[in-house]
Symmetry: C2
Subunit: 490 residues, 2 copies
């Protein structure tokens, strides 16, 4: 078994082992990318990948493994008992997004990965899932095998939780967590490996994420009982027949301030928005010093932030506001030129980003109540199932041990991470950070990848002076685990 | 030449001639349908049809004919001098709508017409343009040839004006009228043949039509300078980036009354709406007695008219209101489920029906002014060219001679036409009813056809106890011409 890796000397030996097994480690990434675990389209491929991963857990030396059945795709569980002081849960996703409709140019088959040169990097691996998330997953497993290969013991006990339907909204992961609370309760934190560097090599560490509530408002003559009820009719009739499109426009308009539609005027909309914690304010002070507003503007193609805010004010707005975004609006004739119709219905896809202490259902409830109170009880509020239509917010306490340990590890390799109170986007982290587990969730790692859900998805193999390559990423995972081996993680 | 047809005996002789030439007359309809004069796609077919029609005018005995070039498709002009007291302009369209994308089931080629049985009629002719408007056109020409064939003279002088781009919005007909005012100024009225009976055999006589002004409002981050300016961005950014979709919603909402969006609150929107004339009020009184509200509701799939109006009030609202209809609205993601984007733009296709004494440009001008005054100067108002995007209203005085003569002719064959002050729809009649010509425009005829612009378009050949067939329609055209031969038409 060897002694537990926890010193610089040991890290050096493991690093040498990693350097000596580069080719083999690249092959491991290729191996898992070749399995077409497309959550939306290929349940057989997903199951094959689950079996493959369970095999890896066994090979590593897990004392317990299971391909756990859910109502959706299986969760692969593995328990590696290192006899260590700390137990870390490791979150993986082993499914990928479908490739149908995508036009890949660098390789002919997204499931036949290749290592190719790609400026500004020396080489990258190209394939579906390369960065999201099979590359980082395999790199992390390579790191674990390298600790063992170099003759040491992994410094923390591990509880692997690998889900096979992240791309379908992680709908059944919560079932696994609830049904396996006993198995997971030893874990005091959960870690998710990823290539966290951007093109400049900078690293972001988000202590959670916003939630999201997505739904559709539909105004139809059929439900209203007025206007065209069955189909669009000739628009000359608009002189004596009302319009469901105008009704939707006015209903929507009643929800925001006409002078500033970013302000929602739905009663109680902001009631549950908590004031920032003391620690968050400190993070924001620090973040304001390094947050590159001009780069963000450029990357997003925007000229002005809301109200021309900047610095700390901008970040406060970014983190401590819930939103009511219109993802899309449609109704009637939308083709070229004109068509003389009075449409029978119109709809808008809405979305609210949730922050502490909002609940997953409150936006829909408040919108429904607003519509009812404003005489729009016929307008339907459709909620979606399955896809990422509802996610809760997630929060990891900046004071949690794993946070400082992760920052320390980054600093040791010369990187000062930008620490965000949470990311502005949404992910199913709450399944770990909220009851029954209530443990901190950290995603970290060196390296870089891009084009997730897009053609020519890649993950860096050999980097440059800013972005680390595969070997450095693997070594950094070892370094992180050494940090996680001592003291409290939660 | 023969004497001018103007008596019942003569009409009987001509009727016998029509009955004796049924097969030949059907062949004439087929002949012109076979020419693929698709305005939008086949300029060669259009030109071929123009030549064909000029040939018919010559064959009839026109002293002057011309295929008159415009910037679009040619207008075919013909002058038939009968030495009569009255001169009538005859409006034809000889172009048809394209068939691409349509699925015809009764015949294999829309340009190879066939006569088929079709309940509740004994037979109909099926083909592109059968009812719109080659069937009625050919029937009217058959009537004229029959008058001559029976040995009589046509009882009025005729000035044919046949346009080849009605389906493209009659964009250049106005040029022809302006450049040929001298040629047309003898005409004291203009007549357009059509199968004016509905399925119950009832006849409507519309003394004009509403105008229409169609345009699109576009709100984009690019023009606004705020929000996403180049492309949709991740919706998590909505916390600090504004939304062009919400901006469009609020801009639209500012144009109508939230409690009743059928009421437009744009300054001066209704200013030029004239009070109904004394004669119109009389027509509406009469119309209210026969206007079948339940049938209109059923045909349009509606349960309630605006404000639950009925009778005279409903008709007053139908005729004496200008509208601001949303034909369509679109922006962002409109596919299944959800997509987390903040769109870069949104647009709405708007339409206003114009009535006396509105101008063709005032709606766009007032909307533009409203947007500017409400801080939305960045929102674009796009006007369309070519298609039927702008038409002026048209009005034929109920006291005009041709109106009473047409009603008299209908009554003689046992039909009491519903006389509408104007139709709620729009058509390019104003080119005749407004300066420089300023003559009354009447569309009339027996018979029935349907599915204009749709598959299996048809025109009735042999009718039933309510709807007249081809021979009766041709006889009725002769009757109308006899009525038009005496007294003032304007």
């Amino acid at each position: 078994m060897g002694t537990q890796a926890h010193s610089v000397t040991e890290l050096e030996k493991i690093s040498n082992y990693i350097d000596a097994h580069k080719a083999e480690h690249i092959e491991k990434i290729k191996e898992i990318i070749r399995i077409p675990s497309v959550a939306a389209e290929d349940p057989e491929g997903v199951r094959q990948c689950a079996k493959y991963l369970e095999g890896k857990f066994k090979e590593l030396g897990c004392s317990e493994t299971e391909v756990y059945e859910t109502k959706g795709q299986p969760v692969v569980y593995g328990h590696y008992d290192a006899g260590a002081e700390n137990t870390l849960a490791v979150y993986f996703m082993y499914d990928v997004k479908q490739v149908s409709g995508e036009h890949w140019t660098l390789i002919s088959d997204p499931f036949k990965p290749e290592v190719l040169p790609m400026a500004p990097f020396k080489s990258v691996i190209v394939g579906r899932g390369a960065t999201n998330s099979k590359g980082p997953l395999a790199a992390f497993m390579n790191a674990l095998f390298s600790i063992r290969g170099a003759g040491f013991q992994i410094p923390v006990n591990l509880k692997f939780v690998a889900e096979g339907e992240e791309e379908l909204g992680s709908s059944h992961l919560i079932d696994f967590v609830r049904e396996n609370t006993r198995r997971l309760r030893d874990a005091t934190a959960v870690f998710s490996p990823g290539g966290s560097q951007n093109l400049n090599g900078d690293v972001t560490l988000a202590l959670g994420c916003k939630g999201v509530s997505e739904f559709e408002l539909v105004c139809s003559g059929k439900k209203w009982g007025r206007g065209p009820t069955e189909r669009a009719i000739h628009s000359s009739m608009n002189a004596i027949v009302e319009s469901p499109v105008w009704r939707l426009v006015q209903a929507l308009a009643s929800m925001t301030d006409p002078r500033d539609p970013s302000k929602v005027v739905i009663k109680g909309f902001y009631d549950n928005v908590a004031k920032p914690e003391e620690e968050d304010l400190k993070l924001i002070e620090e973040l304001a010093k390094v947050y590159d507003e001009e780069s963000v503007k450029k990357a997003n193609g925007i000229q002005h932030f809301y109200n021309d805010l900047h610095g700390k004010e901008l970040l406060m707005k970014a983190f401590y506001t819930t939103t009511l975004n219109i993802q899309g609006i449609y109704g009637g004739y939308t083709g070229p030129l004109v068509k003389t119709i009075l449409p029978e219905k119109a709809a808008a896809k809405l979305e609210s980003r949730l922050i502490p202490n909002q609940t997953m259902t409150e936006t829909v409830e408040k919108v429904r109540k607003h519509l009812d109170e404003h005489g729009y009880s016929d307008i339907e509020v459709l909620e979606f199932e399955g896809e990422n239509a509802v996610d809760d917010w997630s929060r990891t306490d900046p004071k949690a041990g794993i946070v400082q340990k992760t920052i320390d590890a980054y600093r040791e390799v010369g990187l000062q991470p930008q620490v965000w109170p949470y990311s502005l986007g949404s992910a199913p982290r709450y399944m770990f950070t909220k009851p029954p587990l209530s443990i901190p969730f950290i995603g970290a790692g060196l390296g870089h990848g891009a084009r997730a859900h897009a053609p020519d998805e890649y993950y860096v193999i050999e980097g440059n002076d800013k972005v680390r390559g595969l070997a450095d990423s693997e070594k950094f995972y070892v370094r992180l685990l050494i940090h996680y081996s001592k003291g409290k993680l939660n």
